[in-house]
Symmetry: C2
Subunit: 237 residues, 2 copies
Amino acid sequence: MQNVITALRVLEEVSARQPIGVGELARLLGLPKSTVQRSLRTLHEAGWIRPAGGEVTRWQVTSKALQVARRTELGLRDAAVPVMEELRQRTGETIHLMVPEGEAVVLIERLETDKPLRIVLPLGIRLPLHASANGKAVLAHLGRRPDELPAYTETTITDARALRAELEAVRARGYADNRGEWRADIAAVASAILGPDGAPIASLSVSTPASRMTEDLRGQYGKLVTQAAGTLTDSLG
Amino acid sequence: MQNVITALRVLEEVSARQPIGVGELARLLGLPKSTVQRSLRTLHEAGWIRPAGGEVTRWQVTSKALQVARRTELGLRDAAVPVMEELRQRTGETIHLMVPEGEAVVLIERLETDKPLRIVLPLGIRLPLHASANGKAVLAHLGRRPDELPAYTETTITDARALRAELEAVRARGYADNRGEWRADIAAVASAILGPDGAPIASLSVSTPASRMTEDLRGQYGKLVTQAAGTLTDSLG
DNA sequence: CCCTCTGTGCCATGTCACGGCACACCGTGC
DNA sequence: GCACGGTGTGCCGTGACATGGCACAGAGGG
């Protein structure tokens, strides 16, 4: 079903660059214009995109994707948001909710701090398992280990033995931390939300600029995030 | 591109009933099992669904849809959330952000009240233009009118002339209200967020159980929601 | 041991997606 | 004014590939 693959590629490209027209899409995707236009008509017919209005035909995605997306983690999100709000109130910092997916964790919800210097990550972003607080929190309760450990900064853990030891510490402590391992100026603490079978289904984190995260605060936030994740683990059981 | 249509139907069905298997899907969609399975394999290959794990193969959607969905109204959402938070703090009630789409308004973000009796609508839900506060707020700034005015409750406006008068009042007042016109026990006030050309691009609302919405509160919330929507209209200009 | 579920795999048929090409339109620049 | 580079759209012969019937493996249940 080659055409389905191309249609979905077109859809993703539209979502990334909307509003956008046939020609530009064809160039970006390296596909013949006819093929792209057929995909666009079909996606339109299926209700996933709509013309943006104006004399030249530009396309944008409809809320269909939102309807599909939100039915997914909806229960989790609904349960998590109140807990996240309390956590933000207590810490005053940005709270992230991420879920494991393949070789990464995906950001599905966030609450930002009101401080002027803040972490802002787009929803849907994927972070590496071994170089993010949420990733390590998840990894600590996961059987498998990442195959590769690419370095992002000087502090990224790239040694498998060191990672193993770190994950052991995470399990003992209840929460994972990140000391500029993905971006040098971002610090975070995170704790996993576990399903009834003990498998990690999500993770909560408190993220701050590295300059604000003192050792003292790291401990405080770590306790709070562990407690919040524990609440969610219990409420989902 | 019939197969794209069917593949997308399969995707939607998976998202609605996940985790779900081939056989049940085929029955629900009225399609041959082979066709459904080919669609599933293709969607999997494209990264939109994944096997749920377990001995029988069940499917669920990945975060791909979230990534596509969230790039859509992302700028709007990011601008709106802080304003929505302030609005919730001032009113203590549930705040909704909706965008017009076709003959409806679609819920793209919400902040819930902490009161025990609260309105909970799923993200992505579509409400009728003529029978919701957000719908009427949008309609008041839209050239076109709905073709049909189906009744949902006893107070739904079903007469075109009455609707016209109502929308005139909305424009004069700055906000629209809903007196149990969609669900008898839900009340709301809403105000439109306008683009630079004066066209409505979204709408903010405060929703409460009908039992809590006194005339006095309706006026207060109306002012607040109008002010919040105005802030967003300005900040997007 | 049959029967009915589940998911998966094969394959002949003929539909329909492919993609080259042409066209209409709109500016810009020589 | 004409060529040229853009835009979006439409047509159509070829052959790839989606279709869907059918068969099979395995798991429970009666």
